[in-house]
């Protein structure tokens, strides 16, 4: 049909499609009118009324025949036949609800899981960062054992700044930023970041309103200026452009707003930042002999400069700067330049790839299943297609019809998949740990959805249409099922592939689950039951010095001791099992009467200031000596309690009690301390890393003490929900502006396993889906085998085969393929497990027990899936079977 005509006749065709009845009645009326006129004419020519009508009908040659020819002339329009096919397809699916449900479910699982996971992973791995030419941005600095992220000492950074080598521009920020309080009518705690004046220009960001920092703003004596976040601008100034030039009162000091950051702005460290302030470092910070300021450095590479080249180009500077590094450090530090993305997704990367791999496996499993189901279905339709062809349906028409059915299935599956993807994504976001980069922004990605739907459509079309292309065999007209060996082979190969994929998924999930179990049961050295903690941080401007801070905690302790239900109220400036305690090096600890430890740094040693109740509150055992007492908090003596590990390091084969030690924090060594006790080791570096040796000093005002941020810990037999408001009230009574985060110890611990739990949950989910899909595939293939060979089975039984023989016949056929697939799966699992290694804790990637378990599970499921149809085969009545076809 020509295109031009098509447009003109479309309205008519649509009418034919949707107003079939009306079109029919019009045809009827038209022909009746003609007969009437002819009858009248005949009558006028002198015929009798009956005669006239009879002649008219004869001339027409039969009304129904004429109508039929009119309909034929119109032909079936494409739309009409499509509509017809659609109805046939829908009817066909409704007639086989099992087939339809399984296919649609399979597609939905594949599409849903794939889209949801990819939407998450895409943000982590592939989507560009919100900076122009983000591939040029790098994070660089020194990598040292005591700090996971590369850092720079300010003097060395300053040297590089004059000769930026491979960089177009470089910038830095002060790590950790700073809490700062907006001290105006409505006080608010904000996150402030201290950055170099080149910060925005290096990232390639411009303020939406106002100006960027200049070099002059970054001078130590310059008036303080700030760039504020878009959110703060809207909240504080209602988005008024005149906000520029106004003053904010930050920690009681006026700061001029000079610009507003774009709404999409994010810190390269991904930390929150409401306000950017200049670092304003003075000359003393750049003294190479006394480095005291640590920076995080970022840079934009020169175009066409790659990271390895840049690293090489930095070597001279790095070697030079090593001269200023204390000798014991030199062997343990290295230069690191890496892309900003790598820095941001550090620990999300492996997990993200694993999820992606798992979900692609699931999608492949789903596709093979659909292919298998459609192939099976197609064989069942040989006869129908042969009959249609014999009745004159053209090849094209047959293809169109099969295609319609495949498409209908794929679309239904796709729709269900969309819904599932949406639900899964919601689920992921709700169970995901905080650390996953940009997960909150993850939304259903339409491109991905399109891709997944496309893949499944393609597999549906491919395998749905294949049978329509093969010339229908005349034999099938007789109702004989024509066995096509080639495709049978293909089907089994698909099932074997599915089994292999499932074994891999199962093993992976098993590894993660086992590692999670290990992690959750790792001995922490403390009792988390019924322990609650509250993190408190005091604002600098309200509590500038230690005496005010101690006074606050003292008052709080007094108040809390009057609250019923709280026992063992303790304070400490850090809390296990997560890291974040104060730390020094083993080499900086001196033991009286012993030479200093001198090989390298000796590793990190953590320390905490704690009140006497700290040990009973957390259930940490004092192995030798005593815990702190009230006198220790006030006295002039400086007692110390060592962890078992530290005691063993400092005093091997000696009794540490009564010995003295001191450590250097800052410039001068601290006071000599007497060891009064040894405490059991406690996990203090997260659950998976080895614990660092640590020691405890009493909670008292000594130089170097840091208690601006502190933890309140107590035991209670009341429910956390009851106690938490009481604690909040007491703190608010002292100072309502102090932010408090209350959590039970168990919550704090489980937060550490959140990430592995997330990974393990998802992978188990996918493994489960994979096994179900493989079982469905196997079931389908075996059922098909049985139904195809019903006659043969009948003959065998008539000739004396026992049900046992029959079951053997059916299962033997499957067993080979299943075992082959399983073997392939083990091989694959062996390779894939290595990729998981970095996610595992105390579990070897190649764990034979796990592999065997996965294998047994799968073989068990396979056996059940094959057994059901096999049993059906043994129940075949020979008489019925012989007449079957």
């Amino acid at each position: 049909m020509r295109a031009a005509n098509w447009i003109h006749t479309l309205p008519m065709k649509l009418r034919a499609l949707f107003e079939r009845r009306r079109v029919e009645s019009e045809l009827d009326e038209e022909l009746r009118y003609h007969i009437q006129c002819r009858t009248e004419e005949n009558a006028a020519n002198g015929m009798s009324a009956n005669e006239a009508r009879r002649e008219a009908l004869i001339a027409m040659g039969g009304i129904e025949k004429a109508k039929e020819e009119c309909r034929d002339q119109r032909g079936l329009s494409f739309l009409e036949s499509a509509w017809q096919d659609l109805r046939i397809a829908a009817r066909g699916l409704l007639m086989r609800p099992g087939f339809a449900t399984v296919t649609i479910l399979t597609l939905a699982l594949g599409i849903g899981a794939c889209t949801a996971v990819f939407s998450v992973v895409d943000r982590v791995l592939f989507r560009s960062l919100p900076y122009p030419q983000d591939e040029q941005l790098v994070s660089f600095g020194v990598k040292a054992p005591f700090e996971g992220i590369e850092f720079m000492l300010a003097p060395e950074y300053n040297v590089l700044r004059t000769q930026p080598g491979p960089f177009q521009s470089m910038t830095s920020l002060t790590p950790g930023g700073a809490d700062c309080d907006l001290t105006e009518q409505n006080p608010m705690r904000l996150s402030c970041a201290l950055v170099e004046s080149t910060f925005l220009s290096t990232l390639g960001i411009r303020p939406v309103v106002g100006r960027d920092f200049t070099r002059d703003d970054d001078q130590p004596k310059a008036p303080r200026v700030a760039l504020i976040s878009y959110g703060l601008w809207r909240a504080r100034f209602g988005g008024d452009p005149k906000a520029v030039g106004k003053f904010l009162s930050l920690d009681d000091k006026p700061v001029e707003v000079i610009g507003v950051l774009p709404a999409s702005f994010e810190m390269p460290t991904l930390s929150a930042a409401d306000v950017l302030l200049t670092q304003a470092l003075d000359e003393s910070a750049f003294d190479r002999n006394h480095p005291r300021v640590v920076l995080r450095a970022f840079a934009r590479l020169k175009p066409s400069m790659a990271i390895p080249q840049a690293t090489a180009a930095l070597q001279p500077w790095y070697q030079d700067s090593l001269r200023f590094v204390p000798p014991q450090f030199r062997a343990e530090v290295s230069l690191r330049v890496r892309s900003l993305r790598d820095r941001q997704i550090e620990d999300s990367r492996v997990g993200a790839w694993v999820l992606l791999g798992a979900v692609i496996a699931v999608l492949l499993l789903a596709c093979t299943n659909v292919a298998n189901l459609l192939l099976v279905r197609a064989v069942g339709r040989q006869r129908e297609l042969a009959v249609r062809a014999a009745l004159g349906a053209s090849r094209g028409r047959l293809i169109q019809q099969t295609l319609t059915e495949s498409l209908l299935l794929a679309l239904l599956g796709g729709a269900a998949g969309c819904a599932l993807a949406y639900l899964l994504l919601r689920l992921f976001v709700s169970i995901a740990p905080e650390g996953i980069v940009r997960l909150q922004q993850a939304s259903l990605d339409l491109r991905v959805l399109g891709f997944c739907v496309g893949i499944s459509l393609l597999s549906g079309i491919l395998f749905g249409v294949v049978p329509a292309f093969t010339r229908p065999v005349p034999e099938s007209l007789a109702g004989k099922t024509v066995r096509t060996m080639a495709r049978g082979f293909f089907r089994y190969a698909l099932v074997a592939g599915q089994i292999a994929g499932s074994v891999i998924l199962l093993t992976g999930a098993g590894l993660l689950l086992r590692s999670l179990w290990r992690m959750e049961n790792v001995p922490m050295g403390l009792e988390a039951q019924r322990v609650m903690s509250a993190q408190i941080s005091l604002a600098t401007h309200r509590y500038p010095d230690l005496p005010q801070q101690f006074a606050f905690y003292h008052d709080l302790e007094a108040r809390l001791s009057r609250v019923p239900g709280l026992e063992q109220v303790a304070f400490s400036n850090s809390l296990p099992p997560s890291g974040g305690m104060q730390a020094t090096f083993l080499a900086s600890i001196e033991v009286a009467g012993k030479p200093k430890f001198s090989e390298g740094t000796g590793g990190m040693v953590g320390y905490r200031s704690v009140t006497p109740n700290y040990f009973p509150a957390l259930g940490i055992h004092i192995i030798r000596g005593r815990a702190f007492t009230k006198q220790d908090r006030a006295g002039t003596e400086s007692p110390v309690i060592l962890s078992e590990a530290l005691a063993a390091k400092l005093f091997p084969n000696e009794d540490p009690l009564g010995k003295t030690m001191r450590y250097t924090a800052g410039d001068a060594p601290g006071p000599w301390r007497i060891v009064v006790g040894v405490a059991a080791n406690v996990k203090n570096n997260g659950l998976t890393s080895d614990a660092d040796p640590e020691f405890y000093v009493p909670w008292k005002n000594e130089p170097g003490t840091y208690i601006r941020r502190a933890f309140l810990t107590f035991r209670t037999s009341l429910s956390p929900a009851t106690v938490a408001p009481w604690v909040r009230t007491e703190i608010a009574a002292l100072d309502p502006t102090v932010p408090v985060q209350i959590a039970t110890m168990s919550e704090r611990v489980s937060k550490l396993t959140q990430r592995p739990r997330f990974d393990a949950t998802l992978l188990s989910l996918f493994a489960g889906i994979g096994v179900v899909l493989a079982a469905l595939g196997l079931y389908g293939v075996v059922s098909f085998f049985v139904s195809q060979r019903t006659q043969e089975i009948g003959v065998r039984m008539a000739l004396g085969a026992t049900p046992r023989n029959i079951a053997k016949l059916v299962l033997r056929n499957v067993a080979g393929w299943t075992l082959g697939g399983a073997a392939l799966g083990i091989l694959g699992a062996w390779f894939c497990a290595r990729l998981l290694q970095s996610l595992l804790f105390e579990v070897k990637a190649h764990d034979p027990t796990l592999l065997v378990t996965a294998l047994l599970i799968l073989l068990g499921v396979a056996l059940i899936a094959a057994w059901i149809p096999a049993r059906r085969a043994t129940r075949v009545d020979p008489v019925v079977a012989l007449r079957y076809e």
Binding site: N5, E26, Y33, G61, A66, E69, R74
Partner: protein, 111 residues
């Protein structure tokens, strides 16, 4: 079949288009006009007229609408579309070329 054997294939289409080019007509009137203009040479049975009309409509060459006739009855009136007019010109041209060719062939045999 009800197709007149002496009607060259495709001619009926052209005849119908030509008749409708003069004025919109209903089916019965068309059949009367066919008899009238071709002087009963071209016999088109009533039964084959309507499929032909429906085919033309399907092709988009004519369009139909319901109107009242002179004697106040409702009938389906067909009229030529723009596409139909173009088609008619094309077929008429083809026809005269064919007719010329045939007649020259016929003449050739006579001499």
């Amino acid at each position: 079949m009800s197709k007149p054997s002496d009607l060259v294939q495709g001619t009926l289409d052209m005849l119908l288009l030509k008749i409708l080019a003069l004025q919109p007509m209903n089916g019965f009137a068309i059949s009367q006009r066919l008899r009238q203009v071709s002087g009963d040479v071209l016999q088109v049975s009533d039964g084959s007229l309507y499929p032909a009309l429906h085919k033309l409509e399907n092709e988009g060459w004519i369009k139909a609408e319901w109107k009242t006739t002179d004697n106040n009855r409702r009938a389906k009136f067909y009229s030529l579309t723009r596409l139909g007019r173009r088609q008619l010109e094309k077929e008429a041209e083809n026809w005269s070329r064919l007719a010329a060719a045939i007649s020259s062939v016929v003449k050739l045999e006579e001499t």
